[in-house]
């Protein structure tokens, strides 16, 4: 599905990503871990063109995402942000329906019907007419996930979706993500939640200093880390 070739990204003189190569297949659930500043988020943001690579190419279904045709492909890629980024001037229902309606994917009635069904599932039906400022962090992130889902993406990117949340709200968001995983969604998740990674991931990437240092199944990486850097990282996280 994704082919990433020789991806490099610099901000000024700082090299953030160094010659990354990766293939992502359908229904894979990839979790990217690594210390902060390792380039995980930048990598994820390159995947949906929020950042423009300095070098290298990203192909989605054999189409260069940065070409003219790539724009159409972007509709199939959903994204969930650390800071939710719900549209502040729109109600919950409007947040959910604006993209499908404006992209003529659904009619207004159809979009609202589907949005309400999803809200029902996460027990936020009664919040459909409130503005995001009246929601808790966990509620905001769950609405943001639904918003992305309503565009019927083939793959969803999660950029540290629980990092901005208070501890008691983390689970409600992770549970929803697990639900999404059960629906066979292809996912790429940047997170520090190792238990989630263990439970959900089909493959784990450990990034440090702009490169993929190790990759493998949760079992391989967590139980048999090969590199010193991964061992040190797991040690630190474990102590937290």
């Amino acid at each position: 599905m994704y082919k990433i070739r020789h991806l490099s990204k610099s901000f000024g003189k700082t090299k953030v990503l160094k010659d990354l190569n990766l293939d992502i297949e359908k229904e894979e659930r990839i979790v990217i871990i690594g210390p902060s500043g390792s380039g995980k988020s930048t990598f994820l943001r390159c995947l949906n063109t929020l950042e423009k690579p300095t070098k290298g190419k990203i192909f989605y279904e054999n189409t260069d995402l940065f070409s003219k045709k790539g724009k159409e492909k972007l509709k199939k890629i959903g994204m969930v942000f650390q800071s939710f980024n719900l549209f502040e001037n729109l109600t919950v229902l409007e947040n959910l329906t604006i993209a499908p309606i404006q992209n003529k994917r659904l009619t207004k009635q159809e979009a609202e019907k589907q949005a309400r069904e999803l809200l029902e599932k996460i027990h936020l039906k009664e919040k459909e007419n409130v503005y995001p400022s009246a929601l808790s962090g966990g509620q905001k992130q769950r609405v943001a996930i639904l918003r992305s889902l309503l565009m019927k993406p083939e793959i969803m990117l999660f950029d540290e979706p629980t990092s901005a949340l208070d501890a008691e709200m983390i689970d409600e968001v992770l549970n929803l993500m697990k639900e999404v995983a059960k629906e066979h969604m292809t996912m790429v998740v940047v997170t520090h939640e190792l238990s989630f990674a263990k439970e959900v991931a089909t493959r784990i990437l450990f990034m440090d200093e702009g490169a993929i240092i190790e990759e493998g199944t949760p079992e391989e990486l967590f139980n048999h880390p090969k590199t010193e850097r991964l061992k040190a990282f797991l040690g630190k996280i474990g102590r937290l």
């Binding site: 942000f81 800071s83 549209f87 502040e88 993209a99 404006q102 400022s133």
Partner: protein
Amino acid sequence: MKKIGFLFLCVLALLTGCEKEKKEELIMVTEAGFAPYEYYENGEIVGVDVAIGEEIAKALNKELVVKDVAFDFIINEVQSGKADFGAAGMSITEERQKEVDFTVEYTVSNQVVIVKKGSNIKDFSDISDQTIAVQLGTVADSYVQENYPNAKIVEHKKYLSAVEDVKSGKADLLVMDKLPAEEIVKQNTQLKILDGVLFQDRYGMIVKKGNKKLLNQINAVLEDLMEQGKIEDFVLQYSKEEAPTGFFAQISNKFYQTFIYQDRYLYFLEGLKSTVIMALAAAVLGFVLGTIVALIRDFSESTGKIKILKKICDIYVYVIRGTPTLLQLMILYYVIFRTSSISVFFVGILTFGINSGAYVAEIIRAGFDAVGKGQREAAKTLSLSYPKMMRYIIFPQAIQKVFPTLGNEAITLLKETSIAGYIGIVELIKASDIVSSSTYDYFFPLIVSAILYLLLTFLLSKGMHFIERRMEKYVQN
């Protein structure tokens, strides 16, 4: 872009082409506020110069149109061809002769000295080291500059404010033409004219340099009138009655003179109307223009396209914010619309709209910046196109964030329209000028205008506040 250009041309054609053909007009430009030569009475400009102008028009079989602008602009009006001739009690000086052609002198002006009653200045020999008030750019100005090097000279834009200086003791004396001076001491009983004439001066009318035909025609009429003694008759005819004396009589007279006599309140109503319409239209124009500019710049910055258009917008904002509004008004009126017969009121709206647009563009840009970057990223990942993202997400949020600043800009704009009087639009300040030029009282009409401005800004800020609160629905307290 082509479409917009075409639309603009259409509007321009409509605005310039709508004046109907009538009897040909003869446009005389003046500054009304110099009785008995030219002043307002019953809503019309009358006086010696106007009466002469009527005679000239009659001789040419044209219809006289009198235009009232600031004194410094009169030469400009004639040079640019916006007016056919100027008649404003203008002294014939060498400097002016370089700019325009003068007719024969049609009246001799006696320049006199006004002082406060009981002043130490008994005759002209006491003047040399005093504080002298004059009207800027008049012959009295250059005379005192030349002859009293030790005096402190205060130059006023309007001679009525020079009168106030003498009344309040800020200046010791005022040098000006005898005829209006007589009117002034009639209305201000604490002032008097020193005996004798300080110096004499010759008044002429002006036409555009090289317009020999009109010059000869006017000269013929002037010589004719002088021969018949008509000009002295006009002077007598337009000199006014005496004002009542006594304290209470003066106070109630002030009110009576400012509002009731000759329906002068109508000037304030007209000024109010012009100010409101001009400010409203300019605010709408400024908002539309500012929004377009802000969108072009933002679009260019976020996509890297239309860089030339963005550069143009940058220059527009830079130039407009970097120059005084009065200058923009003059450039638009005397340079860009020099030959067009476009209405002066429309030029006012255009100037203030274009001016405000630059500020609005910056305000809205600040609004765009204040909307978190995440909102744009979310819109992009949801495949909302740039126009849709702007329309539904960024623009509404940006406007809400900068609404108080926009309100400020609207108030500034409202007050800025007060300079429109320079090109002859009767707005609130000009209205008070007109009234004070008839009542010879500078402050009372100005205070009336000030109160009207306060009323307008009060209503405006109330209105803005009301809208602001309605827009705050999605902001958590």
